[in-house]
């Protein structure tokens, strides 16, 4: 034996699972890439530009705040990248780029670093950014452009390149010009204001217009499935959100099928699938307790349906999830797990 070997001292356990935060976050980015690609294929260079702008806005903001607070640069944990990508996926494809940058800045600055950075955000940062631009730019965020426009890979949507604080170019005429008869209404808006149902199959495949990355439920499920298989995404959250949506929608549907949409429509339209799989499952802002996760999901699903049917907005998933985030500490407080061998009150 070597004469004076060095002994390293460390508390137990001495071995560790290979899963790290950085690895989880990196894989979430991988899982988002197919969605990103699909959205670029659907909406062309405008979507690509928007995705790049929000992502770099988030990374830049994170970097800036790390420097201001004198903390080690936290870009390498990929969490800001995820926020940027998630944010872009929820915005309309023709969203002016400068507004995208604002959304990215607000998401990280107000949604994350203000609370103390990774691990401390009360709300999903991407949704904070989106909520801000929803309030600040109500027109731009509800202006939809057609998917699969013929010139999408060579021509920007006119509103994309709008200058800051200038009135964006009218996209309605452009949209009508590129695709005949484009109404500018998403399936949810059609349902809400005109009572027209889009069939569930095209919703499921995502060949409709809508936000940049939210259209294909199938692709979202595949990407989410990958993460669940790698144990990097808790399947219980999307499952309970979808379950909550389905049962709430079913109650209305069976009460009056001619007036209310079917549960399948509710699940596959708008941002529900994306919200359930990628937004509600933000680990930090959702409960950790088994019962808490279930209640959280039910609450988000329930609120989504209620806001969609009775609120002033067509899209409700964002507010439902933000509300669920806010309720998380309360939910956790009352859903602490019962321990092994717990004694009944009287015998302890």
């Amino acid at each position: 034996m070597a004469k004076h070997p060095r002994i390293d001292l460390r508390p137990s356990p001495y071995i560790h699972s290979p899963l790290t935060v950085e690895k989880i976050m990196r894989n979430v980015v991988y899982a988002l890439l197919p969605l990103v690609s699909f959205s670029v294929w659907q909406f062309g260079i405008s979507a690509l530009a928007l995705i790049l702008v929000t992502t770099f806005a988030c990374l830049g903001t994170e970097s800036l705040f790390c420097r201001l607070s004198g903390k080690a640069n936290s870009l390498k944990d990929y969490s800001a990248t995820i926020t940027g990508l998630l944010l872009a996926m929820t915005l309309p494809p023709g969203f002016p780029l400068w507004m995208g940058a604002v959304a990215g800045f607000v998401a990280i600055a107000m949604g994350k670093t203000l609370f103390g950075g990774i691990g401390f955000n009360v709300f999903n940062p991407a949704l904070v950014g989106r909520a801000f631009v929803q309030a600040a730019f109500p027109v731009a965020i509800t202006t939809w452009t057609p998917a699969l426009a013929p010139n999408r890979f060579v021509e920007f949507i006119p509103s994309t390149l709008a200058l800051p604080f200038m009135k964006p170019a009218a996209t309605a005429e452009w949209s009508a010009h590129v695709v005949d008869g484009f109404s500018g209404a998403t399936p949810l808006a059609l349902m809400k204001f005109q009572g027209i149902m889009t069939d569930s199959q095209s919703l499921f495949l995502g060949l409709t217009d809508g936000s940049t990355g939210e259209t294909s439920a199938l692709l979202i499920l595949l990407c989410g499935g990958y993460l669940m298989w790698r144990k990097m995404l808790d399947w219980r959250i999307p499952a309970s959100v979808i379950f909550g949506t389905a049962i709430t929608a079913a109650v209305f549907y069976f009460y009056d099928p001619s007036h209310y949409p079917s549960p399948a429509f509710m699940i596959f339209s708008g941002g529900l699938m994306f919200g359930a799989v990628f937004m509600a499952s933000d680990m930090v802002a959702s409960p950790v307790t088994p019962l808490g996760i279930f209640i959280f999901g039910l609450l988000v699903g329930f609120l989504t349906v209620i806001i969609r049917l009775f609120g002033g907005l067509t899209e409700a998933v964002m507010y439902a999830i933000l509300f669920g985030n806010a309720a998380t500490p309360l939910i956790e407080r009352y859903t602490q797990p019962s321990i092994y061998g717990a004694r009944k009150k009287e015998d302890s």
Binding site: M1, A2, I7, P13, Y14, I118, V288, Q336, Y340, G341
Partner: protein, 448 residues
Amino acid sequence: MGLLDFFSRKTFPHGIHPPEYKAITQHKKTLRLPFPERVILPLAQHIGAPAIPIVHKDQYVVRGELIAEPSENALSVPIHASASGSVREIDLMPGPKGSKVMSIVIDTDPSSPQIPVSGKCQDYTRMTPEQIINAVKQTGLVGLGGAGFPSYAKMLLPKDRRIHTIVVNGCECEPFLTTDHRIMLEKVDDLIRGIQIAMKAVSAERSIIGIEDNKLDVLEAISPRLPADGRIQIEAVETKYPQGAEKMLVKSLLGVEIPSRGLPSEIGLAVFNVATLAEMGRLLPRQQGLIERIITVTGDDLTHPGNYVVPVGTPLQDILDNAGFTGQEAEIILGGPMMGLPVASFETPVTKSTGGVLILDQHAYKPKDILPCIKCSLCLQACPINLNPSELGMLANKRRYDVMEAQYHLNDCFECGACSYVCPSNIPLVQYFKIAKTLNRERHIQNG
């Protein structure tokens, strides 16, 4: 193992599946190492009051001779000389827990044949339960699985309690360790006799040997030799950490839970480790004291990893020399990689409850930066007790140790380390909990 067995196999909820690393030593027959130049015998190798030395400096003692008596009126067991030689000193020596502890140091006599002394043969079948329990105490036997709880004390029951079933723990769920595995293959007769002794001592009707299903060769070795009356059974449970914790094994085998912070005897059970019972079966009929044990020496940088019989009190230096340690920088651990104790000195001795010596170098997990908790809930899904380690960890960060105890069941944590193992943020959760428990204990003492 068929598909049906796979789904119906017995287990407990939660837990983790770390790599096993048992292939290094599991097929190696137990060998005896040469006697070390000196043995170091701490007076407290068990839970309870330290034993009281009855020898003095320079006194010649014979292997197996009683050298320290149990402290009276307290939980305590005697200590026997593990090698013939002269008492060098009774002084503070490095202990397995890091701090120095009172120990008897014996210089081994190189000319001695090292034949152990033993008492008259005794037939346990003709002894009363009280006589058996007392005889077990005289052997100095403690739980060899790691806790070091005096074995006789498990059999001493309050009048209103009865034990109907003895659970024999052969899980050995810690990665790397193969001591119990070898004992179950090589010491079947001792083990069965030990089980029968324990059953007689507490008048139990039956006993179940629980093994993890990564040791099915044990099933083949033991099943044909079980007594025909069917009172001793053997069953395989899922290979999962911490299956070998008594709370988990009881749940897996019998579907019952030991009440929070209570003893198995509250629900009519007693749980013994296989190594403990095999020693009981060997020592009690000969009235011998516990003077040696089997350890697994394994891990990295060893030319001769294996399962070895060593005298209790053998310093690590001797063990590492014999196992051919070649490393320059390593972690040395007494026990397994999940719950073992880190060692800071090569003079630290193997004690009665040391199950293995583990060297980690290439396999060692290099600690990375601790990140904030991202509330991934992996720790909740790992905790076998169903605690909320995430919340406990955040409370520990805020030093709310009182809340951890009062509202989040801190004291139910048995420190298995599953939460730390899975934490993707590298938070040393179990370390936080140990600190919190210690500070709470001090606070309770101060407050009377």
